[in-house]
């Protein structure tokens, strides 16, 4: 991207400097570099520990029945009849799929407006500011919003689609910002040549700009999906939790993060082990999304 320290060819300078640098300064340099390296190593320790523990505990909980049975709720005595996480996996997939179906078109639409129409106008700046505001809102507050509007407001109870809406609010700013960045990278010359050939604006957008930006936008979308999939707080008072597998987004719906949260607070070892297994499942799903996002980003001609 830009020139880093590596562009300084240190060998000759280093030779010269060696004469000038006093032992005290050299010692200080060594100590400082040592502590920077130590800081980096410290930064990596938690990752190693988390991955190690997730694998050790999580793999122990995995089995065929773990993925094919619903949690039974019969957790008091522990043992083998506590069930698996089938409803949680399916619930997470459904809720996140609907959330993406809501957030992605709206988010990309707003990004297109910002780049193609709004540009630097005051209205566009205001929209950007509010998108930034959305980015900073804690996820539990999104849960409260959706609760106020869709649970209190309609006088009804929790439902899977309400969780999806909470997650889509969470995804929106990520989708908008990443799509905007990519759309800005589409060369102006491409747009101008299409316009010069007489294409109307909407065809320029749909036939030229969007296809060029597509891979980059998919990356942003997948990262947003990965973020939403791991969220617990917005689902607690919107989709609630249930035991049974439920394909109807209008009813209560289980999800992996909520199931893990419920299981963590259990005093029974078997249930906590199920939480580890579910956590490993969730992390694997999120990492896969991240991996795909990275691969697509690498293929993209932009950025």
């Amino acid at each position: 991207m830009s020139a880093h320290g590596s562009s300084v060819d240190g060998s000759e300078l280093g030779q010269l400097a060696r004469f000038a640098v006093s032992p005290a300064r050299r010692r200080k340099d060594r100590i400082a570099r040592g502590s920077i390296l130590a800081g980096t190593v410290i930064a990596l320790i938690p990752l190693v520990l988390i991955v190690y523990y997730l694998l050790r505990k999580g793999l122990g909980a995995w089995s065929t029945s773990f993925f094919t049975t619903d949690p039974t709720g019969n957790t008091f005595f522990g043992g083998s009849n506590i069930g698996g996480i089938k409803s949680a996996i399916l619930g997470t997939i459904e809720i996140v799929a609907l959330a993406s179906a809501i957030a992605v078109p709206i988010g990309i639409g707003v990004a297109i407006w910002l780049v193609e129409y709004g540009k630097g106008s005051w209205f566009a700046q205001t929209v950007r500011f509010f998108v930034d505001v959305l980015t900073g809102v804690p996820s539990i507050v999104f849960g409260l919003f959706v609760y106020i509007v869709l649970v209190v407001g309609t006088g009804s109870t929790y439902a899977g689609y309400k969780g999806s809406i909470a997650l889509s609010l969470l995804m929106l700013p990520v989708v908008i910002r990443s799509a905007e960045v990519i759309l800005l990278l589409v060369p102006a010359a491409l747009r101008e040549s299409a316009l010069a050939l007489g294409a109307p604006r909407w065809r320029v957008i749909f036939n030229i700009v969007l296809p060029t930006a597509l891979p980059g936008m998919i990356t942003g979308v997948l990262l947003a999906v990965a973020r939403a999939a791991g969220e617990t707080a917005p689902l607690l008072f919107t989709a609630a939790a249930t035991l049974k597998t439920n394909f109807n987004l209008g009813g209560f719906m289980n999800s992996l993060p909520v199931q893990i949260y419920k299981d963590v607070t259990s005093p029974t070892t078997a249930v906590v082990n199920r939480a580890w297994g579910a956590a490993l499942t969730l992390v694997v799903m999120i990492l896969l999304l991240n991996l795909i996002a990275r691969l697509i980003a690498r293929r993209s001609r932009l950025a």
């Binding site: 930064a43 407006w113 507050v141 409260l144 106020i148 791991g230 963590v264």
Partner: protein, 341 residues
């Protein structure tokens, strides 16, 4: 765009019938409406949240709610000070522990590390961002907290003469362990933004420092860090915003005790945790008080994120005036992306 007619008198292919111009108008109108929808949505949410929080504020008074040191559900007293203090202590700890480590890893990745290691190192630090909050909570409470309890007790005993830190009995869930896990959680954002800002430092500055005989560390201290200061502070503030709003990991780790913990290793509560933990069975004023807690949390994160954004944007602008144009705009936008990812 208005078509020029061709001298022959035929209709130009550039000229469009009003009907074919319709999709253009519709698209522009539709997209503008979408953008306006975002604004309307946030304003609407804010108003509704204030409306729901009003009964609690009416009962306790705004200051009574925020600064009252008494959160007693059964007696219907709702003073959120213990929650606010819990949020602030844990987030401050997260910054104290997380930012130096994050900045060190960013300095190492951009200035000291062999080129070949740079990409893997970056990816590893960013992997931390892929771990969901609830998994941090699970790992923290079943692995980290029990493992560190002995060490914490040792520190508490040694520092028993220091108020607020030592002397007490260390519980497994406590402020310190919450702050520590939050530090791990904000590490990837702070590190990513610091790295982006550091990569915009002009090579001239660094070469000049080295050319004058500075050691590597002196170069970092004199050329790199001052140049990135506001960017790093902005990144730290974004991390702070994250830490303040973090819910599930905190709920699991802080112990959910609705009182002011009297020392660093005591159980406490936070604004976000109280909502997650009590909302399910809350009724009446209690529920309204939880909405009020959400409102305080919302305003707090707005303030912190607002300051952070000003700092990050200023950092990007100051470096672009130094001729780093393309890279810095990328840094600014990447910083935005990092906030989300």
């Amino acid at each position: 765009m208005e078509a020029a007619s061709i001298p022959g008198g035929e209709r130009s292919i550039l000229e469009r019938s009003p009907l074919s111009r319709l999709p253009d108008r519709a698209l522009k109108l539709g997209l503008t409406a979408l953008a306006a929808l975002i604004l309307a949505l946030i304003v609407y949410f804010f108003i509704r949240l204030v409306g729901q929080a009003r009964p609690a504020f009416a009962k306790e008074g705004v200051f009574g709610f925020v600064l009252g040191n008494d959160w007693n559900v059964s007696a219907e007293h709702f003073g959120a000070l213990p929650l606010l203090v819990g949020t602030l202590i844990t987030s401050a700890l997260a910054l104290l522990i997380g930012v130096p480590v994050a900045v060190a890893s960013a300095v190492y990745a951009t200035e000291l590390c062999p080129l070949r290691l740079r990409a893997p190192l970056t990816i590893l630090v960013e992997l931390l961002a892929a771990v969901p909050s609830v998994v941090y909570g699970l790992w923290g409470i079943f692995f980290l907290a029990p493992k560190l309890q002995g060490a914490e007790q040792w520190i508490a005993d040694r520092l028993s003469f220091v108020p607020f830190i030592g002397g007490g009995l260390v519980t497994i869930p406590n402020y310190f362990i919450t702050g520590l896990v939050l530090a791990i959680m904000i590490l990837p954002i702070v590190s990513a933004i610091s790295r982006e800002v550091m990569s915009t430092v002009p090579a001239d500055h660094k070469e000049a420092a080295l050319g004058l005989g500075a050691t590597r560390w002196e170069m970092i201290r004199l050329a790199v860090l001052p140049y990135c200061r506001s960017g790093i502070v902005g990144g730290a503030m974004l991390g702070l915003g994250r830490a303040i709003g973090e819910t599930i990991a905190v709920t699991i780790l802080i112990g959910d005790a609705p009182k002011l913990g009297d020392h660093l290793f005591a159980q406490g509560y936070s604004l976000a945790a109280v909502i997650a933990n009590e909302f399910g069975e809350a009724q009446g004023v209690h529920r309204s008080a939880l909405f009020a807690a959400g409102l305080v949390l919302f305003v707090l994160t707005l303030l912190v994120n607002g300051i952070a954004r000003v700092l990050v944007v200023r950092a990007a602008r100051s470096s672009s005036s130094n001729g780093g144009g393309q890279t810095t705009s990328a840094a600014g936008t990447l910083a935005d992306a990092a906030v989300g990812a």
